[in-house]
């Protein structure tokens, strides 16, 4: 199917709000995933460690990757192109595709269409088109070839004449696979092919398809199809059965993203269960919504590797976020949400872990937690995540269930050294609201800590909520001067452990000349 692909190079940099000519990099899991042209000039490359990138380019602005932000920022471009064709398909933020057959005939050929697409996209981007270069367009027989044509770099648009797609692909080296299809995990295959002497797409396409499938499995067969200029998907010719479509009515209408996204998550699970029951996997899903003003919104999302429930839910969240935040988006709340599996194929299977991995208990617990989220709201159910920090409350933070993503780098890092960290054992009760406490010495004078960290006198009593307790043992004070380089976040505190006569131990903190009970060793 002849396809047009529009790519915005280094989209995450643009979406993160980089200025033109600013050295800027987006990092994920401590590695650079996108860099602005100015940063590239300073030899900041994709895959570089963050520290290495910062040392090569000291003025580098580093921002954490956020696919939701990227998708939200890209939605105006997709909305602008809706004027050309109704079936725009997104693979990932910054890249969209559609079949050219109808639009191309209407607008007078591929060239005229591509010019129009570039003009509309540039207009939608406005000033941001200057940040990482203008959007590029490619047209070819398959989406894979069209993306390569767009990225080939010579001009802003490149149209591969019908029938010449194989010839266009042949000289391209195989390491482009992971760049164009990052969802497929083709790195290992590319590495193996290179060691076997297969270094270009043409060489791979020249091999007999059955031999490639026999040696490299389904993933190899897919790569072979892509390299030979054919659609990579092994599609069922049958139309998608209607009963696979899942719909949810929202009453009251969802005005907020998290409300709609929560419903979408349940829909995604249901869709996946229905597909699973038939041994099918979905490679393209249409996310459709209707608003209370009768507007109908729809967008296609593709994932070559087959959409898992989490992947569908994530894309639905991005899409809803994009619609609800966009100035040209819907005018009312969302009343109906529908997921239509647009392309399905036989599921290639996913083996449950035999040792480790998710167990049945995990699945059940996840379902129960989702149910409680439905009762109390998304933020009410959270999982702890270990972070770094000196105070007990900083060492573990709570992340709402469903928002945590595996493989994320924890910041601040838990395994970094934290000099002056409150020593183990840690308090089992960390008060959410600090209680003010009066700490007095033997003569009834308030105990203070000097700027040099010296205590004015040994504490004799503490008074909290009007109750006076004798101090039987104490330790400290330990002075913290954290984030002194940041005027807003700077904190100067002193901590002290006290044991009262009743055997209760508290962690007290002194800040702005007041003592507070921060935590209790309960």
């Amino acid at each position: 199917m002849r396809t047009l692909v529009l790519c915005c190079p280094d989209w995450s940099v643009v979406a993160a709000g980089a200025e033109p000519e600013q050295p800027f990099a987006v990092v994920h899991a401590n590695r650079v995933v996108a860099a602005s042209p100015a940063a590239r000039c300073e030899a900041v490359e994709i895959g570089l460690r963050r520290r290495e990138a910062q040392s090569r380019c000291p003025g580098l602005v580093v921002v954490a990757a956020d696919p939701a932000r990227d998708a939200r920022a890209f939605e105006p471009v997709a909305i602008a192109l809706d004027a050309l064709t109704p079936r725009i398909e997104l693979t990932r933020p910054g890249r969209l595709a559609f079949a050219t057959r109808g639009p191309s005939r209407y607008f007078g050929g591929d060239h005229a269409l591509a010019e129009r697409v570039v003009a509309l996209a540039t207009e939608a981007l406005g000033g941001r088109a200057d940040v990482a270069g203008p959007p590029v367009v490619g047209v070819a027989e398959t989406a894979f070839a069209a993306e390569l044509a767009a990225l080939s770099g010579e001009a802003q648009m490149r149209i591969v004449v019908s029938g010449e797609t194989d010839a266009f692909l042949a000289p391209i080296p195989t390491p482009v696979f992971p760049l164009v299809e990052p969802d497929l995990e083709l790195d290992e295959l590319v590495d193996l092919l290179a060691r076997l002497g297969v270094r270009t797409l043409g060489q791979l396409a020249a091999l007999p398809a059955s031999d490639v499938a026999a040696r490299f499995g389904p993933l190899g067969a897919l790569a072979h199809l892509l390299a030979s200029g054919r659609e990579g998907r092994l599609l069922d010719e049958r139309p998608v059965p209607l009963d696979l479509i899942v719909t949810a009515e929202l009453d009251p209408p969802a005005e907020r993203v998290d409300h709609a996204a929560f419903v979408a998550k349940a829909l995604a699970d249901e869709l996946h269960a229905r597909l699973d029951g038939r041994g099918l996997a979905c490679t393209r899903v249409a996310i459709e919504a209707e608003t209370e003003h009768g507007e109908h919104l729809a967008r296609l999302w593709r994932h070559e590797g087959g959409l898992t429930p989490a992947a569908i839910a994530e894309r639905a969240r991005w899409q809803l976020d994009g619609w609800l935040q966009s100035s040209r988006g819907p005018t009312g709340g969302i009343t109906m949400l529908r997921l239509v599996p647009d392309e399905v194929g036989a599921a290639r299977g996913h083996q449950m872990g035999f040792w480790g991995g998710r167990t049945l208990a995990d699945e059940r617990a996840t379902r129960a937690l989702a149910r409680v989220q439905g009762l109390l709201g998304v933020d009410a159910v959270a999982l702890p995540e270990v972070r770094g920090g000196r105070a007990p409350a900083e060492q573990v933070v709570l992340v709402p269930v469903g928002l945590a993503e595996p493989g994320r780098v924890m910041e601040p890092a838990p395994d970094a050294p934290w000099p002056g960290q409150v020593p183990a054992p840690l308090p089992a009760a960390v008060h959410t609201t600090r209680r003010a406490v009066d700490v007095l010495d033997r003569h009834g004078e308030p105990v203070v800590v000097s700027g040099r960290g010296l205590i004015s006198g040994p504490p004799a009593t503490i008074t909290a909520d009007g109750r006076v307790e004798d101090v039987s043992a104490w330790s400290g004070p330990w002075v913290f001067d954290e984030r002194w380089w940041d005027a807003d976040e700077r904190r100067r505190q002193a901590r002290m452990q006290v044991v009262t006569a009743s055997g209760t131990a508290h962690l007290l903190v002194l800040e702005h000349r007041r003592w507070w009970v921060e935590a209790t060793y309960d």
């Binding site: 937690l369 109390l376 573990v396 009760a429 055997g503 209760t504 309960d522």
Partner: protein
């Protein structure tokens, strides 16, 4: 020749009989009672020799150390792959939970539900989660009995902190006599705590069991206190540094 054949047949018969017995041993329903308890960590076995019986409600109260003990109660199940949920305990020290042996990737923390929703939320959790830590609201509750029935049917354990509210208690653990060591007058830091825990329940568990526990011990782990430790403890408050070495010595001994 015929005798030899008979002997052979007899030995074959005997062997097959043995094999049948061995097979019946293997296919017979294995101890179901074991399925009905959740494991507890080793230092708690003297207090709870059967483990944590599924479907029961445990309340942990007393002085300093009750929260740590409640976490320790759940630690055995958590390490065995069970999920733990904490409902309406926003002050729970999660770093301390990890120290007490709870796997944080199987711990769900749920914000305090409204009073009317409380039983519904906890009931939804006992469906799938083995140990639910709760701080029940004070006063009567219409659904308390239904909740207990649900927990019994699903085999979940409710651990109530401090107060049992309207829940019927099957086992009560009381933490008393907390004594800290490691901290003096401006020196050292809290390292170890000795507590006395008594457990009493209904029915067969009615007899009071009492144990002295390190919660935690000087090495950071929980263990049962023996008499040697107690000797070391006496001088604790006065000279913590000296006592510290005593404690280590006692451990080594």
């Amino acid at each position: 020749m015929a005798g030899g054949a008979t002997a052979l047949r007899e030995s074959a018969l005997r062997e097959s009989a043995l094999r049948t017995t061995a097979l019946s041993e293997r296919v017979r329903p294995v101890a179901l009672a074991r399925e009905q308890v959740l494991p507890v960590i080793a230092p708690l076995t003297s207090l709870l020799p059967q483990g944590l019986i599924r479907g029961t409600t445990v309340v942990v109260d007393g002085t300093s150390g009750a929260t740590s003990f409640a976490l320790a109660l759940a630690a055995g199940a958590s390490q065995d792959g069970s999920w733990i949920a904490a409902v309406g305990i926003p002050w729970l020290g999660l770093a301390a939970a990890a120290e007490r042996g709870i796997a944080l990737d199987r711990l769900a923390v749920i914000g305090a539900p409204e009073r009317n929703d409380w039983a519904t939320v906890v009931a939804a959790l006992v469906d799938a989660i083995d140990v639910v830590l709760v701080a029940p609201p004070k006063g009567g509750m219409a659904d308390a009995r239904r909740l207990a029935a649900r927990a019994r049917e699903r085999g979940a354990v409710l651990v109530a902190l401090r107060t049992s509210g309207a829940l019927t208690v099957d086992l009560r653990c009381t933490v008393t006599d907390a004594q800290w060591s490691g901290v003096g007058h401006g020196s050292g830091h809290l390292t170890a705590r000795r507590v006395t825990v008594s457990a009493t329940g209904r029915g067969s568990a009615a007899r009071v069991r009492t144990t002295s526990l390190w919660l935690p011990g000087p090495d950071g782990t929980m263990s049962v206190c023996d008499e040697m430790d107690e000797c070391a403890e006496v001088t604790c408050v006065v000279h913590p540094q000296v006592v510290h070495s005593h404690v280590v010595h006692a451990q080594a001994g």
